[in-house]
C-alpha cells in the first residue's frame, strides 16, 4: 500500500487543528483516503499538541507510529517529535526561530515566522506551513486554496485572503528551496465526506428526528453538542445546556415521556451522575439515548485523551435490573448507523440505549462515502398523534408477551397516563404487591432482553479462515483490527470486532471463535474488560489480552509489537 503520514505539531492556540483539518480535506478532495487523529492537552494555550493524518490510495483506519512529514510550529516540537520521523522523512522547522542547526539530516529549514510576519501576524505560521506541506505532498496550491476559502469563510474576506496568501508564500518557498523527493502516490477515489465520530453521532441524532438535546459540556463529548447546536435552528431542534448531568438526563427523560425524541451525551464522570436517571428510564420504560464518549479515568483522569474503560460501567450502570442496549461503533460511519438504530430501539423497547465511543473515535477524521449516510430510518414507534384519538382504557404498563406496552403521549390521548419510578401496577400506580413486582421485573428484564437479543448487530469478522491468532476488540479499535488482519507477516492474524456489547452476541461469537486456539482481546484499557465479558457470556477464555492504557490510541506498530509469537 502506498501511503504516508503527516504530523502537525505545536502549542495549543497555534492552529494545528485548523491546518490539519484543511490538509485532510485537501488530500480527500485530491482522491486520497485519509485518517487523522488528534492528540491534545487539557489546556487552552501552550503545551504541545499534534494532529496526525494518514493519506493513502486505499482506505485507512488507524494511526501509524512514524510520519514522513512533520510540521513543527514551536520550538519544543522538533525535539519532542523527532523520534516519530520515518527514515528519510522531513521535519519542517524555522531553525532560526527555534535555535536549531539547519544542517541536521531531515530538517527542511523554513523561515515560517518571517513569512507570517509579512502578513502582519504570527498567527499565519500555520497557513504558511500548510502551503509548504501542499508542495511537498504534491497536492498543488489550488487544492489547498479551495479548502482555505471554505474553512475561513466565516472569518471574513481579509482573514481568508491573508491565510491563502500565507499558504501561497509557503508553497512558493518550498518550490524554490525543497530539494528532497516530493510525495505522490497516485491516489484513486476517496469518500465524498470527511468527518469524525462526534460529527457522525450528531448528524445521526438530527437524522433520527431528535428534537431535544441536552448536556453539560464535558470533553470529549462536547463536539456532539456544538454540531447539533450549529444546525439546531435549521432543523427545529432545541439544545439546552443543563446545569449538571443529573438535570440533563432527567430533562431528556421528561421530554421523552412527553413525546419528543431526546438525547444526552457526556463522558464517564458525567455519565456517573446520570446513572440514577438511567435507572429511572429503565423503571419508567422511557426511551433514552445517551452517548458516553470515554476518556481515561478514574475521576478527572486525562480529560482530552482516550480509553475504553467504561465498558464494565455501562453494562451495570443504574441500580437494579432492566434491559439496556450498548452499541460500540468502530468508525464514524458505524457511529452514524448505530446512533440511528439506538433511537429506534430505545423507542421500540422503551429502554435506555447507549452509544459507547471514546476520544479517539470522537476526534478522528476519516473520509466517508455518500452511501454511508443512507441507512434506513424506521418510523416512530409511539402511538401517533392521529392514532391517539381512538385510544381507550389506556394502561401505561399493560402486560404483553413482548414486554412492550404501547407508549402514548400525554395530551394526545384523552385519558391520564401514569408513569412511576416506584414499582407500579399496569396502570402506573404505586404498588407493593409481590406478584405484580415479579411480572414487572420479567417485563422490564426478561421479555425485553429476549426481543433485543433477536435483533443483535452482528460482529464483523476479518480473515478468520486459517488464522493463527484471532484478535477480538470492540468500539474504536475497528480500523486497527481490520488493518492488522490485512497486514502480511509471519503469523496469519484474524480479527473480530464487536459493534454491540449488550445484549452480548454470545451465539455468534461462539460460532466465529469455534476451533480457534489462540484468542486475544485487544483493548484500550487495563482491566481486559472485554476478555472478562467474553468469558462470562460464552465460556470462551482468551489466552491473553493486548492492552494499552496510557491515554493514547494504539498505532498499528504498537499493536503488532504486542501480538505474541
Amino acid at each position: 500500500m502506498v501511503e504516508f503520514s503527516v504530523k502537525i505539531c505545536g502549542e495549543a492556540g497555534q492552529g494545528t487543528q485548523t491546518i490539519g483539518n484543511a490538509l485532510c480535506l485537501a488530500f480527500k478532495n485530491s482522491g486520497y483516503h485519509v485518517f487523522a487523529i488528534q492528540d491534545f492537552m487539557s489546556r487552552i494555550r501552550g503545551g504541545n499538541n499534534f494532529f496526525q493524518l494518514r493519506a493513502s490510495h486505499q482506505p485507512v483506519s488507524c494511526p501509524r507510529r512514524l510520519s514522513r512529514l512533520i510540521i513543527t510550529l514551536d520550538k519544543a516540537s522538533p525535539r519532542i517529535h523527532a523520534a516519530s520521523l520515518e527514515p528519510g522523512g522531513v521535519i519542517i522547522a524555522d531553525c532560526k526561530k527555534f535555535l536549531l542547526d539547519a544542517n541536521q539530516p531531515g530538517i527542511f529549514d523554513v523561515p515560517l515566522y518571517t513569512i507570517a510576519a509579512g502578513f502582519g501576524d504570527e498567527m499565519y505560521i500555520n497557513s504558511a506551513a500548510a502551503g509548504i506541506a501542499a508542495y511537498i505532498c504534491a497536492l498543488g496550491l489550488p487544492a489547498l486554496g479551495a479548502v482555505f476559502n471554505k474553512i475561513f469563510s466565516a472569518k471574513g474576506g481579509e482573514i481568508t485572503a491573508k491565510n491563502c496568501q500565507a499558504a501561497e508564500a509557503g508553497y512558493k518557498y518550498a518550490a524554490a528551496n525543497f530539494k528532497g523527493q516530493r510525495f505522490d502516490c497516485a491516489p484513486s477515489a476517496a469518500g465524498k465526506y470527511l468527518l469524525n465520530g462526534n460529527d457522525a453521532i450528531a448528524l445521526a441524532a438530527i437524522r433520527a428526528g431528535c428534537k431535544f438535546y441536552t448536556a453539560y459540556p464535558m470533553s470529549p463529548s462536547t463536539g456532539i453538542m456544538t454540531t447539533i447546536a450549529e444546525y439546531a435552528s435549521r432543523c427545529g431542534i432545541l439544545v439546552e445546556q443543563a446545569e449538571d448531568e443529573i438535570a440533563a438526563v432527567n430533562m431528556a427523560i421528561g421530554a421523552s415521556f412527553a413525546g419528543a425524541r431526546a438525547m444526552a451525551a457526556t463522558s464517564g464522570g458525567g455519565f456517573m451522575l446520570m446513572m440514577e436517571g438511567v435507572s429511572l428510564a429503565g423503571m419508567t420504560e422511557t426511551p433514552l439515548v445517551v452517548a458516553d464518549i470515554q476518556r481515561p479515568a478514574p475521576a478527572t483522569g486525562f480529560p482530552t485523551r482516550t480509553e475504553q474503560a467504561d465498558l464494565d460501567f455501562l453494562l451495570s450502570a443504574g441500580h437494579g435490573e432492566f434491559a439496556r442496549l450498548i452499541f460500540t461503533p468502530g468508525t464514524p460511519q458505524e457511529a452514524f448507523a448505530l446512533t440511528l438504530k439506538a433511537f429506534d430501539l430505545a423507542e421500540k423497547y422503551q429502554i435506555p440505549a447507549f452509544i459507547l465511543s471514546d476520544q479517539y473515535l470522537a476526534d478522528s477524521y476519516c473520509d466517508a462515502a455518500e452511501l454511508d449516510f443512507q441507512s434506513p430510518v424506521e418510523k416512530r414507534r409511539i402511538i401517533s398523534f392521529e392514532e391517539s384519538a381512538t385510544v381507550n382504557n389506556y394502561k401505561r404498563y399493560c402486560l404483553t408477551d413482548s414486554g412492550i406496552s404501547p407508549q402514548a403521549v400525554p395530551g394526545w390521548i384523552k385519558e391520564a397516563i401514569y408513569a412511576d419510578s416506584d414499582e407500579h401496577t399496569p396502570e402506573g400506580h404505586i404498588t407493593e404487591d409481590a406478584a405484580i413486582r415479579v411480572q414487572m421485573v420479567e417485563k422490564r428484564l426478561y421479555k425485553k432482553m429476549a426481543g433485543l437479543t433477536r435483533e443483535i448487530v452482528a460482529p464483523t469478522a476479518f480473515s478468520l479462515d486459517g488464522a493463527d491468532i484471532v484478535l477480538v476488540g470492540f468500539g474504536s479499535t475497528y480500523g486497527l483490527l481490520r488493518e492488522l488482519s490485512l497486514a502480511s507477516g509471519k503469523r496469519k492474524i484474524g480479527a473480530v470486532h464487536l459493534s454491540q456489547a449488550w445484549p452480548f452476541p454470545s451465539e455468534i461469537m461462539a460460532g466465529l471463535l469455534k476451533g480457534h486456539k489462540r484468542i486475544f482481546t485487544l483493548e484500550n484499557n487495563a482491566g481486559a474488560q472485554l476478555a472478562k465479558l467474553l468469558r462470562r457470556e460464552t465460556g470462551i477464555t482468551a489466552e491473553g489480552s493486548i492492552l494499552k492504557f496510557d491515554g493514547r490510541p494504539f498505532s498499528m506498530e504498537d499493536a503488532q509489537e504486542k501480538i505474541p509469537e
Binding site: 427545529g236 446545569e243 443529573i246 413525546g259 416506584d422
Partner: protein
C-alpha cells in the same frame, strides 16, 4: 369540569390528618377554576409524601426521582408545550436534594407551576430535619436541635428573579386554590410554597401553630415591589404572610427559545433530510 372529574381511584397512602389532603383538594379546585381537562395536565413529582400526590388526581403523572422533578418537568414542558405542567414536590425534594435544579429552573423560567408541600420536616424517611426545619427543633438525628439556619425559599426565589412567588397554607384550600390558579396563569416559573403540618413527625409546626400565625396579604400590599417582597418573604415567627409575595412579568423560556410559536417538538420528530447538512462535511 368539576372536582369529581379529577378524582382518582388510587387509594391514598398518607397519614390521617396529613396536610397533603388539603393541598390535593386545593389543586383539584384550581384545575376546575382553570377549566382544564385531565389529559391537558401533567403533574410531575419527585419522591416524598408530596410526590405521591399526582396519583390521587385524574391527570397525567410522571413521578420521577428524588429531587429531580424540576428537570423532568422542564423537559416535558419543552417537548410538549401544550401541557399544563405542575410540579408537586416537598421541602426536602425541592430545596434539599434538588437545590441546584431549583436555582437553575428559576433561571430557565419554563412555564411551569411548582407547588412545594413544605412541612418543615422529612416525613417519608421518618422525621429528620429538612432544609426548612426551624433552628433548635430536635429530631432523632439532630438530637440537640437543628443548628443550621433554615433555607428561605421565598427570599431565595425573589433574589433569583422568579416571576411568581407565593405562600399558601394547607388549612385554607380555597385560598390555596386561588394561588395555584394564579401561578398557572403566570407565564413562567411560579413558586408556591405551601405550609402544611406533618402530623406524625413535626410536633412544633402543627395545624394550630400555623393557624394562629398565618394571615392573608390584603389589597394594600404591592407584590410588584421587590424590596417590600423581600421583607414579606422573611416575615416568620409570630406572624406569617400568605398570598402572592412577589410578581414580575418576564419572558419565559418558551418565548425566548422560540418554541412557543413552532409546532410542539413532540409533534415534529420525524426523520430529517440531512443532505443539505452533509455538504458542510465535503
Amino acid at each position: 369540569m368539576n372536582a369529581n372529574d379529577f378524582k382518582s381511584n388510587d387509594p391514598i397512602a398518607w397519614c390521617p390528618g396529613c396536610g397533603d389532603f388539603g393541598i390535593v383538594n386545593a389543586l383539584k379546585k384550581s384545575l376546575v377554576k382553570l377549566d382544564k381537562k385531565p389529559h391537558e395536565i401533567l403533574l410531575v413529582s419527585g419522591i416524598g409524601q408530596a410526590a405521591k400526590l399526582p396519583h390521587y388526581i385524574n391527570a397525567n403523572c410522571f413521578n420521577g426521582l428524588h429531587g429531580r422533578a424540576l428537570p423532568a418537568a422542564a423537559g416535558a414542558k419543552i417537548a410538549n408545550r401544550d401541557l399544563t405542567v405542575i410540579v408537586t414536590t416537598g421541602d426536602g425534594d425541592c430545596y434539599g436534594e434538588g437545590g441546584n435544579h431549583f436555582l437553575h429552573n428559576i433561571r430557565r423560567n419554563c412555564d411551569i407551576t411548582v407547588v412545594v408541600c413544605d412541612n418543615q420536616i422529612y416525613g417519608l424517611t421518618k422525621g429528620q430535619a429538612s432544609p426548612t426545619t426551624d433552628t433548635g427543633y430536635a429530631t432523632k438525628v439532630q438530637v440537640n436541635g437543628v443548628i443550621l439556619e433554615p433555607f428561605h425559599p421565598l427570599a431565595a426565589a425573589i433574589a433569583l428573579g422568579c416571576g411568581f412567588v407565593a405562600r399558601g397554607f394547607s388549612g385554607d384550600p380555597e385560598h390555596l386554590s386561588e394561588l395555584i390558579a394564579e401561578g398557572v396563569r403566570h407565564k413562567g416559573f411560579a413558586l408556591i410554597d405551601v405550609l402544611q403540618p406533618c402530623v406524625t413527625f413535626n410536633k412544633k409546626n402543627t395545624h394550630d401553630w400555623y393557624s394562629k400565625r398565618v394571615y392573608k396579604l390584603d389589597k394594600t400590599y404591592d407584590p410588584l415591589d421587590r424590596t417590600a417582597a423581600y421583607a414579606k418573604a422573611e416575615e416568620w415567627g409570630e406572624r406569617i404572610p400568605l398570598g402572592i409575595i412577589y410578581q414580575k412579568d418576564r419572558p419565559c423560556y418558551e418565548q425566548l427559545s422560540g418554541i412557543d410559536t413552532a409546532l410542539p417538538l413532540c409533534r415534529n420528530c420525524s426523520p430529517v433530510d440531512i443532505s443539505g447538512l452533509l455538504s458542510d462535511f465535503e
